[in-house]
């Protein structure tokens, strides 16, 4: 219930700060692609009277349709919200035939799209609503232009162009919002810290997770080389199981880090190389002979222990052996 109310509230929210911007040129190019011309504006303004006459009927049908489905009904549980939205819907319906399809019109469509997106109205419902609209109008146009079917048909085609322009704008707000979310998540992934963990005397463990870009690679180098000095590490196990891919620059950077670590007297073992990264390394022609790589973290640690001369013995066995 509370959820539905919130949705209703969002539908009525004024303004959308994250609303997309559209330029005059972009709007023109969209219209050109839809072949939306002056003749269409004429066709649409001509049916303004018809639209006025049928507006209430269409809107009522429209909301009856919406309320008959649970998914869309959830948005209109509050009768006040429903009343207000109906009023706005009627304004929009009449706006379609008022002949003013300028930048303000487009901005307004984007704003409305953003409001729906924030209210989490699914795209499928959005498209379905437009489809219902067009069908409801088509029936009424056919009725009104019984004697001039060609005229009615022309008006309908013009209306279709205009509604597709509107749909395009609305869907763009959905896509833009998703892209913003993806962008934020990518930032979050890139900001993941890369811990350098002292694992045993003389051994460091560096698990890397997520995307490595040049900036993160540089940071990693600094941390790694610094940690080798401060921990007096002789072997570093870098686990890249959680890394899906690296580009050639980053791969090169990692190889350079390994070389630098060698100059400081430490060996680096790369564990958990994925097939994709292995492919990148080979394609780059990186001299793999100088890099110690193993398949998984366990082998990496075992190898490191071997290099450092550690022998790991299971506690129970040792007790048995001593007894």
């Amino acid at each position: 219930m509370a959820r539905a109310d919130r949705k209703g509230g969002a539908l009525l929210a004024e303004g959308a700060p994250e609303a997309n911007e559209i330029t005059e040129r972009e709007l023109e190019s969209r219209k050109a692609f839809l072949e939306f011309r002056d003749a269409d504006i004429e066709h649409l303004t001509e049916i303004n009277d018809v639209a006025r006459r049928y507006a209430d009927g269409v809107i009522d049908d429209f909301y009856r349709h919406l309320l008959s489905f649970e998914e869309t009904r959830a948005f209109f549980t509050d009768p006040q919200v429903l009343q207000r939205v109906k009023g706005l819907q009627k304004d929009y319906f009449l706006e379609l035939t008022q002949g003013k399809y300028d930048l303000d019109y487009a901005q307004n469509r984007l704003r409305i799209g953003a409001i729906h997106e924030r209210a989490a109205l699914p795209v499928k419902s959005y498209l379905g609503m437009y489809n219902f609209y067009l069908r409801a109008v088509a029936v009424r146009l056919a009725e009104a232009y019984q004697k001039q079917p060609k005229k009615g048909w022309e008006a309908f085609l013009s209306l279709m162009k205009l509604t597709f322009l509107d749909i395009g704008l609305a869907i763009d707000t959905y896509i833009a919002s998703r892209e913003r979310t993806i962008g934020k998540q990518q930032e979050a992934i890139q900001e993941l810290p890369t811990p350098v963990l002292p694992f045993r005397e003389g051994m460091l463990l560096v698990p890397i997770i997520g995307l490595i870009d040049s900036q993160r690679a540089r940071q990693l180098t600094e941390q790694l080389l610094g940690a080798i000095r401060s921990n007096r590490a002789k072997v570093v196990v870098v686990d890249i199981t959680g890394v899906q891919s690296v580009d050639s620059r980053v791969a090169n950077h990692i190889v350079q880090t390994i070389e630098a670590a060698r100059l400081m007297g430490a060996r680096v073992i790369i564990a958990g190389v994925s097939p994709e990264i292995a492919q990148t390394m080979v394609t780059l022609g990186i001299d793999l002979g100088r890099i110690l790589t193993v398949g998984d973290l366990q082998s990496g640690i075992e190898h490191a222990e071997h290099l450092l001369g550690y022998t790991v013995v299971r506690g129970g066995q040792r007790v048995n052996g001593a007894a």
């Binding site: 180098t221 600094e222 080389l225 610094g226 080798i228 880090t257 070389e259 100059l263 007297g265 430490a266």
Partner: protein, 125 residues
């Protein structure tokens, strides 16, 4: 003279100062070579902890010292390359191929002792 060379048993320890001219480096090489001959040293440690810029001449000289000393029958370990120096060297392609490196003097001594214990020099002791 910009480098001090200390003798510790069979090992020579050369501490390189912060800024070394090409002439200083050349001089260091001569001193080390003669030192190894004179003291019949089996190991040499070159400590570059104080070097904050390693140019190609310095890197080449260090590598040269390592190779020539090896011909005289002793081992060389370069110690104390700092993190940023190490990365800058790699980016310049100065990877000191074929030389042994260690973190610091302590590790360098440990490496030498290990190598000498299993190397042919140990047999002669």
């Amino acid at each position: 003279m910009r480098a001090s060379i200390l003798k510790q048993g069979h090992i020579l320890i050369a501490s390189v100062q912060g800024s070394m001219s090409d002439a200083d480096l050349t001089q260091l090489r001569e001193q080390l070579l003669h030192g190894v001959r004179r003291h019949r040293s089996t190991g040499v440690i070159v400590d570059v902890t104080l070097i904050d810029v390693m140019d190609s001449f310095a890197a080449r000289t260090l590598r040269g010292i390592s190779q020539v000393v090896k011909l005289l029958g002793a081992q060389v370990v370069i110690v104390g390359i700092q993190p940023d120096v190490a990365f800058a060297m790699v980016q310049l392609g100065l990877t000191l191929e074929g030389t042994t490196t260690a973190l610091d003097l302590e590790d360098g001594l440990a490496v030498l002792q290990e190598q000498l214990a299993e190397g042919p020099a140990a047999d002669g002791q």
